[in-house]
Symmetry: C2
Subunit: 260 residues, 2 copies
């Protein structure tokens, strides 16, 4: 009950800040877009990622087909042509960039606990920012580099780089967990989870299994594996992750045909 | 009087959060390091960038010679070997990365007004983040690209790219100014100012004059010029900027000999 009340108050506050309605232009395939659907689910504004909202008081989702992007999207919504974009109210303004949209949603909803922006949370927010930095600067580039590596002779080196990134992220995670900075979910988890939810694609195309990292007797990598497990069990992540088969199909353009 | 009291309260709060003392490893040449000295000055914790503190109740500065980096620095303070790094208390922890340190300082000091992290500031914080993103992703790379362009035939193209970045940053600045998001100084100004304070180096080596951008009848670029002027007039920026001659000497390694 307490949690539900908190969520409803936060959702109402966010909708008031946004001029009464929220329209998210998104793609269920895109990890950056999922950062924002996780935040919306976490705030009680969507129940799933169906374009037809199942929550009548929530946000509207508009699915953009990235493989066949409509002209009106770049012309009228986001000149950069990327998802996500968030329209506030019926006539704008339109916000872009996944991390900025997720932060806006939490902040406008008054969820400073998720953002860790209260003065007494300064050390914890620093820790959260280090995790986000490691995901953005180490893990994500290594993830895409392995996915794009078609040369089987080069794939072991790309795999080693990804395992090295896993180690580096693990080094800045909270020692106890299970979430990035401790027992409570924070924006660092929201921003990282979509990439962990797409490891299934690397498993399919490159045989990469995160579990292999945990068999190494390496405390940092073990932390990462425990963290990834906790994120993927979270309802906001489960309900906003597209089925594995559709992710595999969508990522074929990077990865080429599945390995035999 | 009111401002001084605010600053003193903020400084006391920050020092308490940091375990009683703050030691900043910095370089007066480095723009990233200056982001943190601006924040410290803004919070009343330093009066200048002299290694010997002139403010007995403030932060200690340790100048690191980047051209001749001491081994102990990478070994014991920042494994990345970069400045700035901030040691809290007498025994750590040590924080790294300029933007994260500046944000930590403001947050621990309770200056949510500088960070714009209160729920009612969600739209303004989004605007501030867009300015920081444009500085980091457009202006800074174009700045260094022009500085490093030794080929005089290629310099006009590099200059054009920098002017294009100036235009892009101007597009996300507040229309009224004079600061990034309006009449009040914010973290977006703190993070941008050191790069504007180094335009003197581009003037010296490449003949680049920001004023040329304002003569173009382009509202976005004119906004940028007005903003740059306001930032460079700010006491926290003036007192933390190294003399122009020393910046010119330090940047010779990028730019080569001065133009005749």
């Amino acid at each position: 009950m307490a949690a539900a009340t908190t969520t409803n108050t936060a959702a109402a506050r966010l909708l008031a800040s946004a001029g009464g309605s929220l329209t998210l232009y998104t793609s269920r395939i895109c990890p950056f877009a999922q950062r924002t659907t996780i935040a919306l689910h976490d705030l009680g504004l969507i129940d799933a990622i169906e374009p037809t909202p199942t929550n009548p008081n929530g946000a509207s989702l508009v699915e953009i087909d990235l493989a066949n992007k409509p002209e009106w999207y770049t012309a009228t919504i986001n000149p950069r042509g990327k998802v996500p974009a968030l329209k506030l109210g019926s006539g704008g303004p339109i916000l872009i960039e996944s991390a900025l949209i997720a932060e806006y949603l939490y902040q406008a909803a008054g969820r400073t606990d998720r953002l860790l922006t209260n003065p007494e949370d300064a050390h914890t927010r620093y820790a959260a920012s280090r995790v986000t930095e490691a995901i953005n600067d180490a893990f994500v580039p290594a993830f895409y580099a392995l996915l794009r590596e078609h040369d089987t002779e080069q794939q072991p080196a790309a795999t080693a780089k990804l395992l090295s990134a896993v180690h580096d992220v693990g080094a800045v995670l909270d020692a106890e967990g299970p979430y990035a900075v401790g027992s409570e979910w924070s924006v660092a988890d929201t921003l990282a989870a979509p990439f962990l939810a797409r490891l299934v694609v690397l498993k399919h195309y490159r045989g990469f299994d995160l579990k292999d990292a945990s068999t190494a007797r390496d405390e940092n990598s073990a932390r990462f594996v425990r963290w990834a497990t906790a994120l993927l069990e979270r309802e906001a992540v489960k309900q906003t992750t597209a089925p594995a088969e559709s992710l595999v199909v969508a990522y074929a353009k990077y990865a080429g045909p599945p390995r035999v």
